[in-house]
């Protein structure tokens, strides 16, 4: 297999509140021999909120980000579901609407760029499965996760709307990619009905109760199905589910304590990456016990 090489769109959280997401992603890529070029020029995807305020501006900024991946001639990979969705929405809108593409390119020309539509945009999870291969990951496992019951939490924006994610062959009503990844790392995926539900992150400020109930109900569902940890490909799901467990517990009326790992952190555990790379110390719901060696 020739070396895989991707342009990494980090998103904002990996550079701020979830540094462990970036360090574990880079550590996993290195262990697997995947070359990563970080798109340091890329700006925020708008996270659906900029889109609510000014949809055209959001398309212009996202198109600019994609331009930098196109310049490198690489697939743009994302490590956040919401970055993935908003970048893919812009790509879809521009590729299917020549008039909009022309309007956006008129703006981009002012800064010497042109959106062509030549780069794919793919979440790291699906490049690992479709391009690196689960069997190849399995071969690299040095610390099997067989001692862990792992609840996969897929996050909305990687699975819905399915027409935008059709390349991933994932059914939003019964997604399987994370389950397969957990199995490749020899962990025990648990089946629970909340795995494809919403975490409530996006209304955290204006509809706090809704947000706490959504995240809390999902975590309680995972706990009741004997999960030791939750794993998610989305740092926004992680932030919601990890940071606010006390608040959810109060709304739901039950103690909630469950480590919520980023997808690359789980892989990093199984590949024997260092504690510093995995970065469990950044979690609010304590997870550091997962890296303690006996």
């Amino acid at each position: 297999m020739s070396q895989l090489h991707y342009a990494l769109y980090t998103g904002c959280t990996a550079k701020q509140s979830t540094p462990e997401l970036l360090s574990s992603t880079l550590a996993v890529a290195e262990k697997l021999g995947i070359k990563i070029t970080i798109l340091e020029e890329a700006s925020c995807c708008g996270a659906s909120h900029l889109q609510d305020f000014d949809e055209f501006l959001a398309h212009v900024l996202n198109a600019r980000n994609i331009c930098y991946a196109e310049k490198l001639g690489l697939t743009m990979i994302t490590i956040c579901n919401t970055c993935q969705l908003n970048s893919a929405m812009t790509k879809h809108a521009l590729d299917s609407n020549p008039e909009l593409k022309a309007r956006v390119n008129e703006k981009l020309a002012e800064v010497g760029l042109e959106y062509k539509g030549t780069s794919e945009i793919k979440h790291f999870l699906y490049t690992l499965i479709d391009e690196y291969g689960l069997d190849n990951i399995k071969d690299k496992v040095t610390v099997p996760l067989s001692h862990l019951n792992i609840a996969p939490f897929y996050g909305c924006h990687n699975i819905r709307p399915s027409e935008l994610h059709s390349a991933n062959k994932e059914n939003p009503y019964n997604p399987t990619s994370l389950d397969q990844l957990i199995e490749a790392l020899e962990g025990n995926p648990i089946d629970y009905s909340s795995k494809n539900k919403c975490c409530g992150f996006h209304v955290e400020l204006q509809a706090n109760r809704t947000s706490e109930l959504l995240a809390g109900n999902a975590l309680v569902d995972a706990i009741d199905n004997n999960a030791d940890i939750v794993v998610t490909p989305c740092p926004l799901c992680h932030l919601k589910m990890d940071t606010y467990q006390d608040d959810m517990g109060k709304v739901i009326g039950r103690d909630i304590e469950l480590p919520v790992l980023h997808m690359p952190q789980m892989i990093a555990l199984a590949l024997g990456c260092s504690e510093a790379e995995i970065g469990l110390k950044y979690h609010i719901s304590k997870a550091t016990h997962l890296t303690k060696k006996d």
């Binding site: 904002c12 959280t13 550079k15 701020q16 509140s17 540094p19 020029e41 890329a42 700006s43 925020c44 708008g46 996270a47 659906s48 909120h49 900029l50 889109q51 609510d52 305020f53 000014d54 949809e55 055209f56 501006l57 212009v60 900024l61 600019r64 703006k107 981009l108 002012e110 800064v111 760029l113 909305c156 924006h157 819905r160 709307p161 399915s162 059914n171 939003p172 009503y173 019964n174 009905s193 539900k197 919403c198 409530g200 996006h202 209304v203 400020l205 204006q206 509809a207 109760r209 809704t210 109930l213 959504l214 940071t243 606010y244 006390d246 608040d247 110390k281 950044y282 979690h283 609010i284």
Partner: protein, 329 residues
């Protein structure tokens, strides 16, 4: 050659007049690949149990009566191929009403909340017309195109009862009502646009409570994509200057401010900007937790002040915002 398969149907049964709790009844049947979920429901009723109840009418995906859930997936029973559903979920199909807590008799639910919310957004063109007009009130093809897919809504409730917010917040209008609100607000003949935009801008019932899960887009049997209409309503609130400054609108607008400064979103600053200083005390316990674990960075400077990373070529982003921004708060 046609494919057949033995499926097990787990049917939700409940009679609000006589049952204390719902229960499930299992029926097995050989199913062929031309059969729709509605055909299976008919076979249950005609061949197994005549008391089994569900709504059905047109059988052509246009009346919306037979909307139910199969293994949690919102479907129109008359449109969904039974074996295709089993390809997703396996050989056991769990047949349930759209909303179990609203069940009246088996798959039949009380949709009163749906209709109340539908009515609340004035789903009609509000205008003064002559009592005896001499000609039609024409609009252009382009104007028709902008509302056409929203006009395909058959009020089946698939998106409404797939929406997790509808289940948790009884004030929330829900995706179907927002589709109607958009359809009539975008209609050039309508004169109640501002009123509709104001009511759908209100926190609690309005679009700002949407969690952006895209369940509605997935559920709609007419491919209307309700969340796209929700985004359009958000945009229209700003375009028509209906949006008032509040925690949600400042949060949306705050993205532009932050991207202008750093290229990235300043996660701490956006909370302060959205909430205002008076809204901050409730966030202090979380902020302390985040500082303790290093989620809010110390190492690059003083937190909140100069710890933000900046992107390369930030000047390009600033220029693009200057020449592309169309809305203001």
């Amino acid at each position: 050659m046609s494919r057949t398969k033995k499926l097990t149907l787990k049917l939700f049964r409940f009679n609000a007049e006589t049952d204390y709790l719902p229960y499930y009844k299992t029926v097995e049947m050989q199913v062929s690949d031309h059969e729709l979920v509605l055909d299976l429901l008919n076979r249950v009723k005609w061949e197994h149990d005549g008391s089994f109840s569900y709504r059905r009418s047109c059988r052509h995906g246009i009346c919306g009566a037979c909307a139910i859930k199969v293994n949690g997936k919102s479907v129109l029973a008359c449109k969904e191929n039974a074996l295709s559903v089993s390809d997703i979920f396996g050989d056991e199909l769990i047949i349930e009403p759209q909303s179990k807590k609203r069940a009246v008799k088996d798959l039949i639910i009380d949709k009163a909340d749906f209709w109340d919310k539908h009515e609340a957004v004035k789903p009609w063109v509000e205008t003064e017309i002559e009592e005896h007009p001499k000609h039609e009130n024409k609009i252009t093809q382009e104007e028709v195109n902008s509302i056409l897919d929203a006009d395909y809504c058959i009020q089946c409730g698939a998106c409404h009862y797939a929406c997790p917010v509808v289940e948790l917040n009884e004030d929330f209008f829900g995706p179907a009502a927002f589709v109607s609100a958009y359809r009539f607000s975008a209609d050039t003949r309508d004169e109640a646009t501002i009123e509709r935009l104001e009511s759908t801008a209100e926190i609690g019932q309005g679009v700002w409570n949407c969690v952006k899960c895209f369940e509605c887009a997935e559920a709609c049997p007419k491919d209307i994509n309700p969340i796209e209409k929700i985004t359009k309503l958000h945009n229209m609130q700003f375009e028509q200057k209906v949006a008032k400054s509040n925690v949600a609108t400042r949060h949306a607008e705050g993205f532009v401010r932050s991207i202008k400064k750093h290229g990235l979103l300043d996660e701490a600053e956006i909370v302060i900007y959205s909430e205002g200083y008076l809204g901050m005390p409730k966030h202090i316990p979380t902020a302390i937790k985040m500082l303790k674990t290093g989620k809010i960075h110390w190492q690059d400077g003083v937190p909140f002040i100069d710890s933000m990373p900046k992107i390369k070529n930030l000047d390009e982003v600033q220029k693009l915002i200057e020449i592309s921004q169309t809305n203001k708060l």
